[in-house]
């Protein structure tokens, strides 16, 4: 009984794999579970193992060559078994001529297989910065091979339009079941996502809808309020954001001792020099952004626009909902100007007197819920921006004083949400590092 060797999905996002090195020669006896070859996925180099016993009769892929997941790459069979019909349909190549020296391939790919690997294709969002490379995946059972060619064609079709095609029914079902269409592969013409794709996605785990019995409701239990225009816009924009944007989060805790000292010192000089901690943080963020255009950017679908000017959006809560007025050229403004503008914009936002040009055009946004007693939170990216900074409350924290004891310090926790399509983990971290330097040494802000 022959066993086909398929290119298996060795990472959750893998669509094709490059056969780096065969570890068995044609004619070698192999046992189920033995490693046949090394395969480079989109993340790392993994092992392709035998799924049956016998002799590796045929290698259908040369070293260094790539094949889509699901393609036949070899055949294991008894030594005398006729395997002609099995290999007839496969896209054969001469397995004896490697395209590159295997060692070299291994070296370069392993280098890029770390936690913050650069995405191989922009269209395929990757979220690995927050998770370790998935070495364990090699033990997972492979997906049924017959499902794979469809995925490959869908991906190929999707890559030229960039648009997710789907039937109206598929869209309705996806929204009812909370599925994100952009994460599904369509099996219809041109990669169209159709009912059967939703159904097969829905049978995967994790989507198990809660089967809790519905509770009886009575009049007075609730109040239906029609959506205001601003609520609709928030819902649309934020759903747009959390849906297709592969977001990861970076949290840091900054020491505010010097910021509070500076603020107190300024207030002592006179009322006109009074600023809030938030004003100082905004000034620091704007200054850091001017040094990190890679997070001061817009994701535009087919390109990333890095901004040379820093227009800082600040989330303001109003009775109607959230709005994000903009301090334009914030990095060029003095702290007193930022302070005055922030106050003015927040006031006018609450009075609903903002003009459209005052709340559009931001290149980066911050959201501060510190005044609500929130220690730390994550904010949703305001597209097309690629990151947003969430600022918690300034708190007294006991920290080691370096002499075996503890001292109380004023500290703040910030969390940056990053769009991984544009920003990688290390890039976000570098920005937060710069910000730490500025906040913990606020005198640098006047430099």
């Amino acid at each position: 009984m022959a066993t086909k060797v398929f290119m298996e999905a060795l990472s959750p996002t893998m669509e094709e794999g490059r056969l780096v090195k065969w570890l068995k020669n044609e004619g070698d006896a192999v046992k189920s579970g033995e490693t046949l070859a090394e395969v480079e996925t989109d993340k790392a180099i993994m092992e392709l193992v035998a799924r049956g016993d016998g002799v590796l009769r045929k290698r259908l892929v040369g070293e260094g060559e790539s094949r889509p997941v699901g393609d036949l790459v070899g055949v294991i069979a008894a030594a005398d078994e006729n395997i002609d019909s099995l290999i007839a349909g496969a896209s054969t190549s001469d397995g004896a001529t490697p395209a590159k020296a295997p060692e070299q391939v291994v070296a370069t790919t392993q280098e890029s297989a770390g936690a913050s690997a650069v995405p191989q294709t922009q269209a395929q969002p990757q979220g690995e910065a927050s998770t370790p490379p998935q070495q364990k995946i090699i033990n997972a059972p492979p997906p049924p091979p017959q499902a794979q060619p469809q995925q490959a064609t869908a991906a190929a079709a999707g890559s030229n339009g960039g648009q997710v095609r789907s039937s109206p029914l598929a869209r309705r079902l996806a929204s009812e079941r909370g599925l994100d269409l952009s994460r599904l592969q369509g099996s219809g013409p041109g990669g169209r996502i159709i009912k059967r794709d939703i159904e097969s996605a829905a049978t995967q785990p994790a989507v198990a809808a809660s089967a809790a019995p519905p509770r009886a409701t009575a009049a007075g239990d609730f109040e239906d309020v029609a959506l205001t225009q601003i609520r609709k816009t928030i819902a649309k924009r934020l759903a747009e954001s959390i849906g297709p944007i592969p977001t990861f989060y970076l949290t840091a805790e900054y020491d505010l001792t010097r910021v509070t000292e500076m603020r107190a010192a300024m207030a002592e000089i006179g009322d006109e020099f009074k600023v809030s901690i938030n004003d100082i943080l905004m000034k620091a963020v704007a200054t850091a952004l001017s040094q990190h255009p890679e997070v001061n950017a817009h994701w535009l679908g087919d390109r990333i626009r890095y901004h040379h000017r820093v227009h800082l959006g600040m989330a303001v809560a109003t009775n109607d909902g959230l709005i994000v007025p903009v301090i334009f050229d914030a990095d060029q403004k003095r702290m007193s100007e930022i302070s005055r503008e922030a106050r003015e914009l927040a006031k006018r936002a609450r009075e609903r007197k903002l003009k459209p040009e005052e709340y559009t055009g931001s290149t980066f946004s911050i959201s501060n819920l510190g005044m609500f007693g929130i220690d730390q939170f994550t904010a949703i990216i305001n597209p097309p921006e690629v990151a947003i900074l969430a600022i918690g409350s300034a708190q007294d924290v006991a920290v080691p004083d370096g002499k075996g004891g503890y001292e109380t310090r004023k500290r703040v926790r910030v969390t940056m949400s990053c769009d991984h399509r544009a920003v990688d983990g290390a890039v976000g971290a570098a920005f937060l590092q710069t910000l730490r330097r500025l906040i913990e040494n606020p005198l640098m802000l006047v430099y």
Binding site: S167, P168, L169, R171, P189, I194
Partner: protein, 326 residues
């Protein structure tokens, strides 16, 4: 239940309704002495006499007009056209008199008239005598357009058409007259505007009317062998159209093929597809596909005629396509 031909079912309906109401009379070419060009009026002259079964000269516009006049003054004429191809000559009376007089008289004149005759292509009758007119007639406000595909439907609907107080165009089929089916002995009528689900299945809806209901059933039989079960929605009446039946079926199957005898442009299918996209948009898993006659005058040559006509094979191909099987 007796099994009778479509022709006899019509004949029974005519006879029963003429007995029931002596204002009902039949008029047309060869309906009396010759017993009908297709023998639908067989025996009626003997049964009801020449005052109620009237042979006319070959003057479609003339006798259609006489019919409208008779209806205006209280009779209930049934006007037989030897075929609907010839009825084009009488279109002025259908369009400008029958369909409009209730409206233009401010409700003073009902026109309880039935225009009936065979419609669509038979076999090798060539371009002028192979035309399906339901979409032409269904276009006109003030008319009802009925297209029965089976003996049971033909009898029940003709009786309703004769009892209707407004003009009804009743489209039969030359190729249908000899088809047989069960027709109850007891009295029954079928309401105009009500579709019939002739076959039940979950995979796809075939929405059709008239003679094509038989084609749809042939296709359904063959599809079962491929493991595909279809709904066959026979509209039976194309104006008014049973939108609820269309919606119920398409919401169940999520895909539809619309099959009709006539040409593509502005056909019955365009209206069906319009209802589907409006009412069932969020239920659709595939674009709706139409099956219809080729956009040419009907060829005389047998092979070309076959190629031009909608048939079971074309319907099956369409069903497989909307199911993403091909």
């Amino acid at each position: 239940m007796p099994v009778i031909t479509y022709r006899d079912a019509l004949n029974q309906a005519l006879s029963e309704e003429m007995h029931r109401d002596d204002r009902v009379f039949l008029m047309g070419e060869e309906v009396a002495v010759y017993q009908g060009a297709y023998k639908v009026s067989k025996g009626l002259l003997q049964e009801f006499g020449e005052m109620r079964v009237v042979d006319t000269p070959i003057t479609e516009l003339g006798f259609a007009g006489v019919g409208v006049g008779a209806a205006m003054v209280g009779l209930r004429p049934i006007i037989e056209f030897m075929t609907w191809n010839f009825a084009v000559l009488a279109l002025d009376q259908v369009l400008n008199s029958a369909s409009k007089l209730l409206y233009m008289s401010g409700g003073q004149y009902n026109i309880p008239i039935v225009f009936r005759g065979p419609n669509g292509a038979a076999l090798q009758l060539s371009a002028q005598h192979s035309q399906a007119f339901e979409s032409w007639l269904a276009h006109i406000p003030g008319l009802k357009v009925v297209t029965p595909g089976t003996p049971y439907d033909a009898k029940g609907l003709l009786k309703s058409a004769i009892r209707d107080d407004n003009p009804v165009c009743f489209l039969e089929g030359e190729m249908l007259y000899n088809t047989k089916g069960e027709v109850p002995e007891e009295e029954y009528t079928i309401p105009i505007g009500k579709a019939d689900l002739k076959r039940e299945g979950d995979h796809c809806s075939i929405i059709t009317n008239g003679k094509m209901a038989l084609v749809a059933m042939q296709a359904a039989d063959q599809l079962v062998k491929q493991g595909i079960n279809v709904d066959v929605v026979d509209l039976r009446t194309v104006r008014p159209m049973d939108v609820e039946a269309i919606r119920t079926s398409v919401e169940k199957t999520n895909r539809a093929v619309v099959l009709e005898e006539g040409w593509e442009i502005c056909g019955i299918g365009t209206q069906v597809v319009d209802y589907i996209q409006r009412d069932c948009f969020d239920s659709l898993d595939a674009p709706v596909i139409r099956v219809h006659q080729a956009d040419v005058p009907m060829p005389y040559a047998k092979n070309l005629e076959r190629a031009a006509k909608p048939d079971a094979a074309k319907t099956i191909a369409a069903v497989r396509k909307v199911m993403y099987l091909d």
